[in-house]
């Protein structure tokens, strides 16, 4: 699905009681910034490649970590990856992130479900990982 089309559809959609706000970021690679209603702090950035649609939310910068916890944090994240529904942890540049990837052929319902789940997971993750933050 084209990001412009996704943005328009999301504006009129309510999934599990939650609405969406989105706008397209300018740049070489089109990115749609999406805020799930009630999750203003955790915007989701969606970008589309040939095969997949990537939904990414940034959790914290490497610089925000307490000293010497990196190894422990990374191990925790690897362990949490499987139980966490639909999303996985990642490091992009210097930012710990949470993301989900979908097939480009996913239905709009699937995408909406992914976004709501990712926003939930992002907040859960932030709360869970607070002890590692300086």
């Amino acid at each position: 699905m084209d990001l412009q089309e996704l943005s328009i559809k999301l504006a009129a959609h309510v999934h599990e009681g939650m609405g969406f706000e989105s706008y397209l970021l300018p740049g070489e690679q089109p990115v749609l910034q999406i805020v799930v209603e009630g999750f203003n702090e955790m915007p989701i950035f969606v970008t589309v490649t040939d095969e997949q649609m990537l939904c990414i939310s940034y959790l914290f910068d490497v610089k925000e970590l307490k000293e010497g916890v990196t190894g422990q944090l990374n191990e925790t994240l690897l362990k949490l990856n499987v139980p966490m529904p639909l999303s996985s942890f990642a490091i992009i540049d210097d930012k710990y992130s949470i993301f989900g990837s979908l097939s480009v052929n996913s239905s709009f319902e699937d995408i909406a479900h992914e976004l709501v789940t990712l926003a939930d997971n992002a907040v859960d993750a932030l709360e869970t990982l607070e002890e590692y933050l300086a």
Partner: protein, 229 residues
């Protein structure tokens, strides 16, 4: 070297500029060329395969026609023998021999076709595997690059929009505050509802054993006993 290990090496190097290509344009072209070559190979293998399979079927049809002719002529030969015409029977038997030889020759032809079919099917499989594998590798390159470009776009947006740049701790505080607000609102709403319906007072009275009480079996029994007595 697989793309994943190239990406790994690039990340391990660490000195890479953001946005620098993991695999240069030439590398991507090589992948695309390999996919195109494999697609061509796949096309011609499939074309040959259909041709050979058609020939194989024709040959099998010819063979069964021969088998029928053999059976037919065996019948004729038997009839000739029954009529005591040994010479005719021999002539027919010679004809049967020709058919049988032809059938054996076709066996060899058929074996060659079957071999070709197996080979071509293997080629088709191989080409399909190469295409899929190269596409998977290419997809990794393209995804990595898209994410890098997307990250640049996101970073420049975040940088020009201070509110989204706040630390995770600050975000967490705001999230918690909002959750607390929502919980407070819910409690307040519930309290208000209780007040409006008088549920609160009723609950207090019920706890103190005042007000309307539901009739219980034991009460009724007491009443009946009192009446009787």
């Amino acid at each position: 070297m697989s793309i994943l290990s190239k990406i790994f090496t690039a990340f391990k190097g660490g000195a890479r500029e953001v946005g620098e290509a993991i695999v240069d344009a030439n590398g991507i072209r090589i992948f695309e060329q390999e996919i195109a070559d494999a697609q061509n190979a796949l096309q011609s293998a499939k074309k040959n395969l259909t041709e050979v399979m058609a020939k194989e079927m024709q040959t099998k049809r010819k063979q069964s026609a021969l088998s029928e002719s053999i059976a037919e002529h065996e019948g004729y030969a038997t009839q000739a023998l029954e009529k005591g015409d040994e010479a005719l029977a021999l002539e027919i038997a010679e004809k049967i021999a020709v058919f049988e030889n032809e059938k054996v020759e076709l066996d060899e032809v058929l074996a060659t076709y079957s071999n070709s079919v197996a080979q071509l099917k293997a080629q088709v499989k191989e080409a399909e595997k190469t295409i899929k594998e190269n596409q998977r590798q290419l997809s990794m390159v393209k995804t990595t690059e898209s994410v890098q470009k997307a990250t640049m776009a996101v970073n420049s947006t975040l940088a020009s929009n201070n509110s989204s740049m706040s630390s995770a701790k600050a975000s967490l505080e705001r999230i918690k505050q909002r959750q607390a607000d929502r919980a407070d609102q819910l409690t307040a709403a519930k309290a208000l509802e209780n007040e409006e319906t008088g549920g609160d007072l009723k609950a207090k009275m019920a706890a103190a054993g005042i007000g309307e009480s539901k009739s219980k079996g034991s009460d009724i029994l007491e009443r009946l006993k009192a009446k009787k007595g």
